[in-house]
Amino acid sequence: MLRSLWIAKTGMDAQQTNLDLISNNLANSSTNAFKKIQANFSDLLYTTFRAGGSNSNAQNLLPSGLQIGAGSAVTSTERVNIQGPLVQTGNNLDVAIQGNGYFQIQLADGTLAYTRNGAFSLSATGQIVTNDGNVVSGAGVIPSTATGIVINVAGLVQYTTQGSTNLTQAGQLTMASFANPAGLQALGNSNFVPTPASGTAQTQIAGTNGMGTVNQYYLEQSNVNVAEEMVNLIAAQRAYEINTRAVTASDQILQRISNLGQ
């Protein structure tokens, strides 16, 4: 069939995926610590039907060849790990990372996962847990007699008890970094697990070796820029539309050719 029909279809497919990603970004524009996802487009393989400079007959050389590309595709999706803005919440179990790194958490099945969403709370047993109930690694246990919780920039978790001015240490939040954070696999609920592309987790103390600092009473907001996503949405929708025009033109040509035989 007509080559242009399939080529325009790849353009529609790529823009459809782009629209899906933009919609997901927009839907998460108020999700804590959400990192926007961008589509990486690239052109597909080119086929050389006639190479320029090849022989057209015994005497003549072709002045230029014919090379037709197969269209475009979304070759990868990538999380853009730009720092989201921090907002003050006043909640003593809200912590935000300013800079690189992730909090290490333990999922229900025991595997380790990583998150930047620091909207923590206390479980019935006094453990610091994420908002989906996963235990935050290294945080220790806060006894029910504690009157205040202090988390410092290095992630040290301390608490006070009634009648005492001394801080008692409960634990220290485990922070991890990756060679390529964009290669982490998202599990949903703001949780990530390492992949061969991200490299293994390197646990470090917050504020050292380039790790970010921990800020109590703050939450990191989504880094989605709504205005930018709206412009991307318009561009993607129009790009989709003009590819449908190329499909229409191909369809008309096919129709004409099929009518020829009548």
Partner: protein
């Protein structure tokens, strides 16, 4: 027998559809960063017979690439880089050869090596460029890549992007869409300037490409009409002959 002009028209109709394929490829890459438009043209193929040269067939060709600069969009992503004016980034293909691209959407792999799309490493003036973990990346205008640990005042140079400015006539578009110079490499050009946190978009002009689609569609239509005319002539001739028989 159908008149031979039907075959001439057929080459017109079929090369219009081939050209539509080239334009569709441009349109489908209207949002591919750094994509360079494929130019197309029709070429005459005269029929050199023993008799007089009466007819010329037409064939579609892609004589080259439109290397005009695309629009530059600011993204704020520190691994996005765009070249101001002419020039190319150099990347290393899996077979070890060097290729060139305008697409500056880079990232690091699990070992911290700076890569371009499709996992090809970016070529620096001193080999590939490795970014240490947890560092901030700063790219100077001349392509020098510096890394800085947050909180530290010291900048370490991780490498320098190899920036080249070959003659566009020498560049060939490879099957993977990257450009290369067959059999040789381009020399580093120190005059090329890079902007960090921005990406160059495709240089496809959607309006122009849409007009091309319309004109290719109509050219195909005209040629198909000619084939129909030839067909009708042949039918008339057949009916004339069948009348004279009876």
């Amino acid at each position: 027998m159908i008149n031979r002009f039907a075959y001439t028209s057929m080459t017109g109709a079929s090369s219009a559809t081939e050209q539509l394929a080239v334009t569709s490829n441009n349109l489908s890459n209207a949002l591919t960063p750094g994509f360079r438009e494929v130019m197309n043209a029709y070429r005459t193929v005269p029929i050199n017979g023993l008799g007089a040269d009466t007819r010329a067939f037409v064939a579609e060709t892609t004589p080259g690439t439109n290397f005009t600069t695309g629009q530059i969009e600011t993204t704020g992503n520190s691994y996005d880089m765009a070249i101001k004016g002419d020039g190319f980034f150099a990347v290393r293909k899996p077979d070890g050869s060097e290729a060139y691209t305008r697409a500056g959407r880079f990232y690091v792999n699990e070992n911290g090596v700076l890569q371009a799309g499709r996992g090809v490493p970016v070529v620096g003036t001193g080999g590939s460029i490795t970014i240490p973990p947890n560092t901030l990346v700063q790219v100077a205008e001349d392509g020098a890549v510096y890394t800085q640990l947050p909180g530290s005042q010291f900048l370490n140079q991780a490498g320098k992007l190899k920036l080249v400015n070959p003659n566009p006539k020498d560049l060939v578009r490879d099957e993977d869409g990257l450009f290369s110079i067959p059999g040789t490499q381009a020399a580093t050009d120190d005059k090329i300037r890079v902007v960090q946190g921005a990406i160059e978009l495709s240089n496809v002009n959607s309006a122009q490409a849409m007009v091309e689609v319309i004109s290719q569609n109509r050219l195909n239509e005209l040629n198909v009409r000619s084939i129909q005319a030839a067909d009708q002539n042949a039918r008339s001739a057949v009916s004339l002959l069948s009348l004279s028989k009876s």
